[in-house]
Symmetry: C2
Subunit: 324 residues, 2 copies
């Protein structure tokens, strides 16, 4: 395998210009209640209000709008049942090209409907990673489409970094930036964006203790797979990608592990006190900030990327008809 080039801060800035016409500039929110609980000044970058309901729109849009017209004409493809699938589908629609999304046969109907709603072609396969990868390879072979990886891709990473770039324009006085850590696309892009601030800005990754492969990888210096992840934060069950691993190592980014109870408690606090619907993955950095046992963030201006808001409420809440 050849050594792939790492994206840079300049790539993040280029991405920001490229995707600006197609993505939302999301607001930053505050909460007195959560500030009081955290003993710090928290700033929430609302990527749950981004198009498709997640920051994934940024990376997919950057990758898809970077394609040459010739490549673009053959379409794009990915395998995902999550936010990345919707992001690829919508970004392809905006560019006016085909998107092929490989989804496991057991993917929730609501997710299939969302992807189909953006006009993508859904290719169904059995629900193993091997089957998904093989099916994607077949789609690429048959169509000439460009595969868009959800995080192990320099253009996707640069795109995800635009959330932090925008955040720092909106709140230039931040002292700490925390994002969720799964495949590492958002955190590594954020690290690149934050590098403009030098040591004045500390970047932390928040990872579920039940899916701690990135922490193990960065501690050991050898990338470790995420086997049998057990966490409610379904977006963070993926293994750290190679490019993110190299970026996070190079910048010596610290990882904080978060227990399941803290994730659920933090999610509830954001729903109840900030009035924002966030998905469990987004609650992981919130938990890092508000259950800061070492008190090392006390009094600091802490920026948190609320990465997404896609939760299937059906069975959880509305199935009960609110108790009526």
């Amino acid at each position: 395998m050849s050594e792939r080039l790492l994206p840079t801060l300049a790539d993040v800035r280029t991405a920001a210009r490229r995707i600006a016409p197609h993505v939302h500039r999301t607001p930053v929110m505050r909460s007195r209640a959560l500030d009081a609980i955290a003993g710090a000044s928290l700033y929430f970058k609302c990527e749950n209000l981004q198009r498709v309901g997640a920051f994934k729109m940024r990376g997919a849009t950057n990758a898809i709008f970077s394609l040459s017209d010739a490549d673009a004409s053959r379409g794009v493809a990915t395998h995902s049942s999550g936010n990345h699938a919707q992001a690829v589908a919508l970004a392809a629609k905006l560019r006016g090209i085909d998107a092929h999304v490989v989804m496991p046969e057991n993917a929730p109907a609501v997710k299939r409907a969302a992807v189909a709603g953006y006009g993508a072609r859904i290719v169904t396969c059995v629900s193993t990673l091997a089957a998904r990868e093989q099916t994607l390879a077949e789609v690429v072979e048959a169509t000439g489409a460009t595969a868009i990886h959800p995080y192990d891709d320099a253009l996707v990473i640069a795109g995800q970094g635009t959330a932090a770039l925008e955040f720092l324009e909106q709140e230039p006085e931040l002292e700490v930036l925390i994002t969720p850590l799964g495949g590492g696309g958002l955190l590594s892009g954020t690290t690149l964006a934050a590098s403009s601030q030098g040591s004045a800005l500390r970047v932390l990754g928040a990872e579920p203790a039940g899916a701690d492969d990135a922490h193990r990888s960065l501690t050991s210096g050898v990338r470790q797979p995420c086997l049998n992840p057990e966490t409610v934060a379904d977006g963070l069950r993926t293994s750290l990608g190679e490019l993110p691993f190299r970026i996070l190592r190079e910048h010596e980014v610290e990882v904080r592990l978060v227990e399941e109870d803290a994730i659920v408690d933090a999610m509830r606090l954001v729903w109840e006190r900030v009035k924002l619907v966030i998905e469990p993955s987004s609650a992981v950095p919130v938990a890092t900030a508000i259950f800061d046992h070492g008190a090392e963030l006390r009094g600091a201006r802490v920026g948190i990327v609320l990465s997404g808001g896609n939760v299937d409420l059906g069975a959880l809440l509305f199935g009960s008809r609110l108790g009526t």
Copy 2:
């Protein structure tokens, strides 16, 4: 009973200046997904992001900051187990005076804690309306405190109207304004604020079909009580107040009735697609806009006041630990 003076548009403008230092200027949000469903351009005024999580902060603050120093020194009182209680507690704290809140003994612990958290004194009584009113009268007698009614009060109504005044500054092109309709404080204040726009702006009240006393009152021309209300929109189970009744009659405000299923469906759509936590009462005007069977709002610019976001998620959602 003497004929009480009705508040005016000028009173709403005065209220806006009076409360500005103490309340949030809440944002207006949009949603492509809901626009597509409604076939109209929807604008959401996010009073769920207001202090205490509801527009009630506006009216309580206007009433409490209107008191003379002598009256204020004897404190304020109310009986409520809802958002008005928290609003009176916080506004009194901001003015630096005592608040006495009469709450029924079966009020949820989370609501008692919220009121106590703002420093109010809680006076517990049995859970009948008669007991609450008598206990409030005793508190007023004993302390000299001023009772702040949640909606049948000219200063409270003027304060609630500031949400619409602000909304029209933010979105001057609105053609329709819809608010929930319970006691009528928000809708009558909105009507006053909207009167500056003349016939260019139509105001609608959205009332649960299961608590339709305002609709019956305005249709018959005689104020009717709300007996045995059956609706998930717990904030709208109160009876229309006398002052709101007179204002809504004078301005010939139309009322739209909303069925329970539509309320729950609209609430879910806002949570899932707009990513905002709203309480059931706020979903009633949303339902009016998106399940607009007469199609009379088609293509219009429709402003909706999302009145509050206080939902006790405990038993509903997080009791399940998200299924883990």
